[in-house]
């Protein structure tokens, strides 16, 4: 079953603008991760936020987690054309001890030069 749903499904912005993507999930989690996927390639891990954390930063990335609302957001500041990719959230369900991640449906980001 799909744990995460992402919003929007697609986002088009101008270079230099900020991009915000949202993820909602259904069950309690141990952690939430964000991945990036360039077209036709594998996924690359961006950032992991634990269930007891509320915000985390990595370079131009800012992730927030609201466990009461079962939601997370990924903010990319000062976007660049090279940020064009699909972004997926992935959750590790708390009750599942099998080291699985469940991926959301993804947001396709286009950054126009």
């Amino acid at each position: 079953s799909q744990q995460g749903e992402e919003d929007p499904q697609a986002l088009s912005i101008q270079e230099g603008e900020n991009a915000t993507m949202n993820c909602s999930y259904k069950t309690s989690i141990n952690n939430l991760q964000w991945y990036r996927q360039n077209s036709g390639r594998g996924l690359v891990h961006l950032i992991l936020i634990r269930s007891n954390e509320r915000e985390k930063h990595s370079g131009r990335l800012r992730v927030t987690l609201d466990t009461s609302k079962k939601s997370s957001s990924l903010l990319i500041t000062a976007s660049r054309a090279a940020d064009t990719a699909s972004y997926f959230c992935a959750t590790e369900p708390m009750m599942d001890s099998s080291y699985k991640l469940i991926f959301g449906s993804g947001t396709r980001l286009l950054v126009r030069p």
Partner: protein
Amino acid sequence: DAMVIQNPRYQVTQFGKPVTLSCSQTLNHNVMYWYQQKSSQAPKLLFHYYDKDFNNEADTPDNFQSRRPNTSFCFLDIRSPGLGDAAMYLCATSRDTGRLYEQYFGPGTRLTVT
């Protein structure tokens, strides 16, 4: 340096003709995963190995099998590919460090079924 390697990158097979996709890793991670990803969709977990322990997802068709002969290698066998099996197949690894971990993905193998 490539850490998770998938071969081939592109594979064309005929309807019903068995095909094997391979994955190798230089990370010495104990967990290896196979995902199927169709166009504009989320990666869907097919199965994973924790060391030699095989864990199949409940909705993975019997047509899909896997082998892990050693820590470094893992194979995905599709016994009788159908047109619906055309997809990108992603291999990933992770290291069991407790509850917090990230997955490292290979570049994927794009499978075409004719």
